[in-house]
């Protein structure tokens, strides 16, 4: 080991205890050596410090979704007809369910031929940020190709996940799917286990990328107006 390697190994905590103690004894007797150690320690702190803020940046939603929804992911490609058909069926089912299962207090209501969010779901979609926890969780927020905002949601109480887009001052469900929270509920994330039908609908509707936390907040504060 060269003198330089030994010095750095000492700073990096790579010397055995006895070697480390011997090095410290040398340092005590040699101010120049001690100064070199101090300079290298400072360099190490400067380098670690320069990159530390990256840890506090919001993780881009595309990375989050990629890593967390891995189980569900069908290959990402444009939707073919069968998938559209499946989604349409899903939506019809949702409309029926809206009429029968949630007559008065359900999360969705039929209005003018569309299924729109009501009650707690409407509140969550209008006000809640992805970073906020609650009985209903909002996942991705993005701008659709037609320019309106869309958001994915998961409601544990309703066993429902879906995608809703802002139309005429309401949140219109584009697709819904049966969903239940994972049994091990200690840890959940915005994009946790979103059903494939919802991910496919996001793929089909999204223009560009999902909003980051700051853009999401700004859009909410503008009342989801463009």
């Amino acid at each position: 080991m060269t003198a330089e390697e030994r010095l750095l190994a000492y700073i990096d905590g790579e010397l055995a205890a006895a070697d480390s103690a011997a090095f410290e004894a040398e340092m005590a007797a040699d101010p120049r050596l001690a100064a070199q150690v101090a300079a290298h320690r400072r360099l190490g702190q400067d380098i670690a410090g320069a990159y530390a803020p990256v840890l506090d940046e919001p993780v881009p939603p595309r990375l989050f979704a990629l890593a967390s929804a891995a189980n569900d992911r069908a290959p990402r490609r444009r939707l073919g007809l069968p998938q559209w058909a499946a989604m349409a069926a899903c939506l019809v089912l949702g409309v029926l369910a809206g009429r029968t299962l949630w007559p008065a207090q359900g999360p969705l209501a039929a209005r003018g031929g569309a299924l729109v969010a009501r009650g707690d779901l409407d509140k969550a979609l209008s006000r809640q940020l992805a970073s906020e926890d609650g009985a209903i969780r909002v996942g991705l927020t993005f701008k659709a190709r037609d320019g309106g905002y869309c958001r994915t949601f998961e409601s544990a109480a309703d066993h429902l996940a879906g995608l809703a887009c802002r139309r005429d001052g309401r949140w219109a469900a584009q697709v819904t799917s049966a969903w239940s929270p994972e049994p091990a509920a200690g840890y959940r994330t915005a994009a946790s286990a979103m059903p494939p039908a919802v991910l496919a609908a996001v793929d089909a509707a999204i223009a560009g990328e999902a909003l980051d936390a700051a853009a999401e907040r700004a859009a909410r504060d503008r009342g989801w107006k463009n």
């Binding site: 080991m1 060269t2 330089e4 390697e5 750095l8 190994a9 990096d12 790579e14 300079a39 290298h40 400072r42 360099l43 190490g44 400067d46 380098i47 670690a48 410090g49 320069a50 990159y51 530390a52 803020p53 990256v54 840890l55 506090d56 940046e57 993780v59 881009p60 595309r62 990375l63 989050f64 990629l66 890593a67 967390s68 929804a69 891995a70 189980n71 994972e182 840890y187 994330t189 946790s192 286990a193």
Partner: protein, 164 residues
Amino acid sequence: MNAFEREMVELLPRLRRLGRVLARAPADADDLVQLTVERALARRDQWRVGTRLDSWMFRIMKNAWIDENRARARRSDVFAPEEEGERAGADGAAAMEARLAAREVEGAMARLPPDQRIAVALVLVEGLSYQEAAEVLEIPPGTLTSRLVRGRAALMAQIGETGR
């Protein structure tokens, strides 16, 4: 989401940080992270439960970065220049100074030869032990220490002792 995905999600901030050391421009760094996650998912059967996921993914990122660099060299591309002022905000003098210092470090790191840069990043930024870093880089421990020595000497010459 199972344990593998949960751990991978928790690792994302650190993967982004290592990506930033390697690729520098934030968009390139996130592309590198995306490539890393995609490869990790494709090869998840190769990860042995009970071993460290971070080291395993750092190794995947290292290889992805090398592949990326080769592809760029073939296309005789250059790295996207970092947009100046991109991160300029309206914050105070202390924050400005810290950011300038960080830019200086980033610049000095970018000038290191790639194999020294990643060795320094794994040990000084990610806090890996020499043995762990050598395993990530798939090199003998002696090679790692010599890269660390040369890399840190170059950094010291550029940014060490500047008025502090």
